[in-house]
Symmetry: C2
Subunit: 259 residues, 2 copies
DNA sequence: CGACCCATTGACGGTGGTCAAGGGCTGTGG
DNA sequence: CCACAGCCCTTGACCACCGTCAATGGGTCG
């Protein structure tokens, strides 16, 4: 798979510096009771909103690029973003998908802050942009934010660890099965036992290419593995973006992981 | 590779509840100016040490097991620990290696705290054990600890993201090359440009099996990939546990990653 | 209706896994 | 000091899963 022709750098200029609304309206934001913003009450968030710049980017825009000097950090208000790392020859690994309430702007080393991953809008995306330089001050003013950020980072770390097991040791069909259950959990479809109800329909706003780059496979292998699970009657595939979980328990066994 | 015969569970009883010294001597601890403890001054750390239980475990002991109820968290004082996840059939993925100053005890969900990964001593290990229940109180007393923990979690997350690229998209030789450079950086052998000096000798206190389980390969493939880099004159292998970095820049090119 | 993009399916090949044998190092015991 | 056992690593032969290349089909938009 070669991505060089539409390498992210070629699209960069499309991304940022679009119309920024002067005042963010937090009370009607999808992220108001999600992620970082959930840590603050209305007064504090109104104060914080005054130093935020509301940004909109179209689908496909490169929001941040790995290795660039990290001048900002972002909080996603609306839309879905793919985070990824790429190799010089175009091979790409998607690190995760970020939605409303997620934080963007992790840097490799604090001394010379450069973004650790690239972020690309998969849909039209709205974000709040903050100045990185004021980050320390903001945390000092609102310690609850830092606590929430620790919670978020910890959660991301646990997900990353599961993904390492998937990428290092699972077969193609196991990767698909694991992914479907993780996505069901993310969509809050899971009962307290960790399994989604039988017959639940999972909506995947991803292309097969994104799925492949997330699971460390190729498009063709993803397609074949989905076909295999379909033949095993574990899932149904009414259309490209929907998957019916016919036998969640059997699917979990197929995923092998403790999820 | 089948690990069932010496599955971690079989070794569990060896691990914990060995002699605990009543008072920790922080001033002579390897971790005193590393990781979490570095956040506190001598008075605060002396206070904290009074609620710590100093534990020693022999090489090979299972310190924590994935999925167990998480009653404690640990700070490593001395020795090297391997963190891993395993599948029911024995496949194993090493998530990382933890040394003095590293924190152990990440849980999957805070509501029902269970360890996210297993941890096994690779050498005789000394740790401070804390009660998880008192964690919130400790953080309230010493906010600097929480800040340090966020720093640590962020750093781990960045490493995990690079490892995902490695596991999902790199060839065997690229994985070895990347690993060597990452390990050199960990050992503080790298100049400001990110490269270790030519001719530097890297000590790897790991078996080929650990390396394989860390890089998502088999022992045989690790052996062959090391042989390949040796034939390419990028590295020298004077003995099993030492690697000489003959051409660091070329090795970095071979690793492909931006490290 | 046609162009285009994406997904699926098939044929084939390669990287890395599996199985097996052999060699080197270390520790122990004669 | 040497012999031997045991473990780990290396090397070789073979195989399988997945990647590559190519053709076809289905859906959407102009």
């Amino acid at each position: 798979m070669v991505y060089l022709l539409d390498h992210p750098a070629a699209r960069r200029t499309r991304a940022i510096n679009l119309a920024a609304r002067p005042t963010a309206r937090c009370d009607e934001c999808d992220a108001r009771h999600n992620g970082l913003c959930d840590a603050l009450d209305d007064d504090d968030i109104a104060f914080l909103a005054r130093v935020a710049e509301r940004v909109r980017v179209p689908a496909g825009a490169l929001i941040i690029e790995e290795g660039e000097a990290a001048g900002s950090f972002f909080n996603i208000n609306k839309g879905l973003v793919r985070l990824f790392k790429a190799l010089p020859d175009g091979r790409r690994q998607i690190i995760g998908f970020a939605g409303a309430g997620h934080f963007l702007g992790l840097v490799k080393v604090a001394a010379d802050p450069r973004y650790a991953v690239s972020a690309e809008a998969m849909q039209p995306v709205e974000l709040c942009r903050f100045n990185r330089a004021s980050l320390a001050g903001v945390f000092a003013t609102f310690p609850a934010l830092e606590h929430k950020l620790l919670e978020a980072a910890t959660h991301e770390l646990v997900l990353a660890q599961s993904q390492m097991l998937l990428l290092g040791r699972k077969t193609a069909a196991e990767r698909i099965a694991s992914f479907l259950l993780t996505w069901a959990e993310r969509a809050d479809m899971c009962a307290p036992d960790g399994l989604p109800p039988a017959g639940a329909t999972l909506h995947l706003p991803l292309s097969r290419g994104d799925l492949a780059d997330y699971l460390g496979l190729t498009i063709e292998t993803v397609s074949r593995a989905i076909g295999q699970l379909k033949r095993e009657r574990l899932i149904g595939v009414p259309n490209i973006h929907d998957i019916v979980l016919l036998q969640p328990a059997a699917l979990a066994a197929r995923a092998d992981a403790a999820i």
